[in-house]
Symmetry: C2
Subunit: 550 residues, 2 copies
């Protein structure tokens, strides 16, 4: 048996952009061919982009994807390729599509294998579209048997497994030489570790090498770190692709021996906050690039949230593409303006200042006949926040800037933000970071590039919507709040369990009630870049009209 | 074999409100017992409310539900009951829960059967939570065998079935006397007909009577019409519960003979527009009642959309609970005000008028340094709409009114509305009605109660955000637009197929592009009351950053 030279391609795809994806895949095939590879492997659903969501329900979309697969196949003459794309279920019973890996060779589709385990939890909806696979066959190529599986297919290794079968249990009976897993596995703070563990478990269990090929880039709220890897039969990780970038790897398989054919740039282990920083930068950059947007606008308040978002936006888009607006009111403290100007100078970004005072007075006048005899309260606070949102959106509409939202996860959780005010924006950059993590990431960024003034990091948080307001007037300290929120949102603990975290039972009840009664607000929030295992958005689907815990 | 007296209970439940649901179920059990019934049947997941969504992932929620089932069981001593609730999967493999029907008798849970076919399309996410059933057993009671299935279990009757098995094919082998289907089947314009057809198909196929028990009420965007029915073995519908209300039925089963035991109020066949009217009124009423809200506020523009929403709100909440605000600008036509006042008088509702002129001038002034040398355009139009939204939200925040959104499906589809402006609101009442349907429903309402002035029905639609603006300046006539939108949204046709509907190919391309590029706006829209087979919201999940069709 001759050794097999294999290339793995960790690339960034654009959903529905068949021309772009096809061209990128063909170019990688040609490069691998020039490197004398026998086989190149791409990631899950790479032809149509991941996740295609309900575009999969359009017959025309499936036809376009099939057409793209045939075009790619025509470039696989002396080299073979494995690409991910939907395929049509040939029998009437069951759903109409499979999530498939196409084996392309000799200019044609030689074989198609389907995904068996369809994730349908958190942000995943795959059983919405796909029929699970029921037939198990290795791909045979130049004397080798390749056990090809798709993402979740290898993840059923828990003590409490989510699925009643594991496809590798079937495939191993055919005595394959290698496991190949093509994936579209999004980033979260625990994902790198989990993924490593799961892949190693498979190698140990099935005693053969593994090539794992994931995608990179981002798709609205989902960010893909890549992290493709090669593991030999001895359960050693012999190579890793770098995270959050396009990368290729070259390997040789001889029997069940997998070795590195070409060393590529050394792998960098990423500390937790650096992972998050790169993830958020990727998320911002891809949101802009894939939609053809260039410039963003941010309301800079002098607080930590807008400072962090501004720093990330500059890193993602470049300092010339970021414009900030200062929108002070009579309740803004002096340092809010001086700190903002300090930051603007450090980052060398464009800024402007607008007053909401006159507009606020006019709105007050318009409402006076109705509001007379009432006291200044939440309504008046929200008017200020909404006027700021209105001015920022006016700038967005006039000049084509995309407004970046600056809400954090703690305030989104408890509803401490104004809908149609500071909750405005095309993209929520830090909506999946608790306030304590916002500080942590800001401090990390300052170690790389000291752009956030120390006083922004040390001042007490305030919305500055009434005289001498502090977040701590209406919320517990963020260290306490974030622990309660994490236990409820990420861990889904009961009120009784959460009460063990603090002596203040009434506080727990109040916080959980705030989380539940603010679902209606979050429903209208911008898409949140997901970096946790449970982000607000499509991965957390709560009823709005419900009474649980109230 | 003695005849079996059976009661069916079509009730309205509140998600997560175990006390409320349990009390309602126990009260119905006691009434049925007083009527000498042997068995009472409730709908799917009635104990916890439907849909419970991600509350199902909270162990505490499941425990509360189990506790409620035991409490209900303790009231089933001489009468038996079938109630829907989640149950815990006793084996480690597979998902942790089943969607189950509990058979309660002798004060205890006697048997639990599970749902086999888990809908996971459109608004349904059941495979997210539940393991499909794999064991098939009839419930045996007083010599009868009851083939109990849950909603979707009976729906696999298409020529192109979505599932590879049908539970009744297994259950029929045990020779049951009757099919009992407990459901949580939401309303849509085609649902009454489909449901009828599907239930009759089952009776014809399996040659036994059927009791179908659905719920009523509404849950945010989902509206449940009920439509519970009794069909005898000869495939005659012998009784129907009325739609959009709580109702009970009393039947006798003798062998396989099903007959009506007590006639109840005569069934009213509902014309399509009357169905929609009742659905929307139910949707509004339940959104308010279940959250403890009383009063709504609406911006009344003089156009058809806000007029229709106001008429529906008055029918749902009562004229004393509806306040409207007139927010004219220099671009408002005279008839906008006179028509609104006419409508206000007809409905006898409270109103106020606020000017946005001063606030607009102040905002213009604040933006002047940036906007100088630019022309009046979309940004300025949006400022007006957002100032209206801001004033309405201020009233909402100050006095606790819930703002009703007045966007229709045609404008949501093409993005002809201002985000954070006229797209504000807690609930979108007519966001699932195309503009042509808005007219149709308004005319229908006028036949019942002549509350909408004729001139509102006949004037040309306009957003009135610049001089002499008409919708037709930027959009095709709604008759044409709505046909294109229906073909793309409901029927998911390809551009090529849709071009057959009109001679204007460029128009089709422009409209489809508008639909695709406005996903980001719809993501931040209020929840839309669903009355079609494909509503914007959780039933339509499109990528935001994508390029298909652009």
């Amino acid at each position: 048996m001759q050794p097999l030279n294999i290339c793995t391609a960790q690339l960034n795809y654009h959903t529905g952009n068949f021309e772009h994806n096809t061209a990128k895949i063909i170019s990688a095939i040609q490069q691998a061919q020039a490197q004398h590879c026998d086989l190149i492997i791409f990631s899950e659903l790479c032809v149509c982009g991941y996740p295609p969501r309900d575009f999969l329900e359009f017959a025309d979309f499936i036809e376009k994807s099939q057409h793209a697969v045939r075009e790619i196949a025509s470039h696989c003459t002396t080299i073979a390729a494995i690409v991910g794309a939907p395929s049509v279920n040939p029998v009437l019973e069951g759903k109409d599509l499979f999530n498939s890996a196409y084996f392309l060779y000799n200019g044609n589709v030689q074989q198609v294998v389907h995904k068996s385990l369809l994730p349908n939890y958190d942000i995943f909806d795959e059983y919405r579209y796909f029929e699970p696979n029921h037939e198990f066959n290795c791909i045979e190529f130049k004397g080798y048997k390749l056990a090809v599986t798709i993402c979740e297919d290898l993840w059923n290794v828990d003590d409490n497994p989510m699925y009643r079968q594991s496809p590798m249990e079937q495939l191993k009976l055919q005595e394959p030489h290698i496991m190949i897993n093509i994936a579209a596995s999004p980033y979260s703070q625990k994902q790198l570790e989990s993924r490593n563990e799961v892949m190693l478990k498979n190698v140990v269990r099935y005693e053969m090498p593994l090539l794992y090929v994931n995608m990179t880039g981002a798709q609205t709220h989902l960010i893909f770190d890549g992290g493709s890897m090669a593991i030999n039969a001895g359960a050693e990780v012999i190579d890793r692709h770098n995270h959050f970038e396009e990368d290729t790897g070259y390997y040789q398989l001889h029997g069940r021996q997998l070795s590195v054919l070409q060393n590529h740039s050394p792998y960098t282990v990423l500390a937790p906050m650096e992972q998050i920083r790169l993830a958020l930068i990727t998320g911002i950059r891809e949101y802009f690039h894939k939609q053809g947007f260039k410039q963003c606008i941010i309301g800079l308040s002098g607080g930590i949230d807008s400072a962090l978002v501004t720093a990330l936006a500059v890193q993602a888009l470049g300092h010339k593409q970021v414009k900030v607006v200062l929108l002070p009111s009579e309740f803004s403290s002096h340092h809010s303006i001086t700190d903002s100007i300090d930051m603007i100078n450090r980052l060398d970004i464009e800024h402007t200042t607008m007053s909401i005072a006159d507009a606020y007075a006019s709105v007050e006048k318009a409402l006076a006949p109705e509001f007379k005899h009432t006291e200044f309260g939440i309504a008046e606070e929200n008017i200020q926040s909404r006027l700021r949102g209105l001015l920022l959106m006016a700038m967005s509409n006039k000049f084509g800037y995309i407004l970046l939202n600056t809400s954090n996860k703690s305030e989104l959780a408890v509803g401490y933000g104004t809908l149609y005010g500071d909750m405005c924006g095309g993209l929520s950059v830090i909506g999946d970071l608790y306030k304590t993590q916002v500080y942590e990431l800001a401090r990390h960024i300052n170690t790389l590039n000291n752009c956030i003034p120390e006083s922004i990091l040390t001042k007490e948080p305030s919305a500055e919507l009434r005289p001498n307001q502090k977040d701590s007037d209406s919320l517990p300290p963020y260290e306490v709040l974030d622990k309660i929120l994490y236990a409820y949102i990420e861990e889904r603990k009961s009120p009784r369990e959460i009460m063990k975290l603090t002596s203040d039972e009434a506080l727990v009840r109040r916080v959980l009630k705030m989380v539940n009664t603010n679902e209606w607000k979050r429903l209208q929030a911008p898409p949140v870049l997901r970096v946790s295992t449970k982000a607000f958005g499509p991965g957390r689907r709560m009823p709005i009209v419900a009474k649980y815990l109230n």
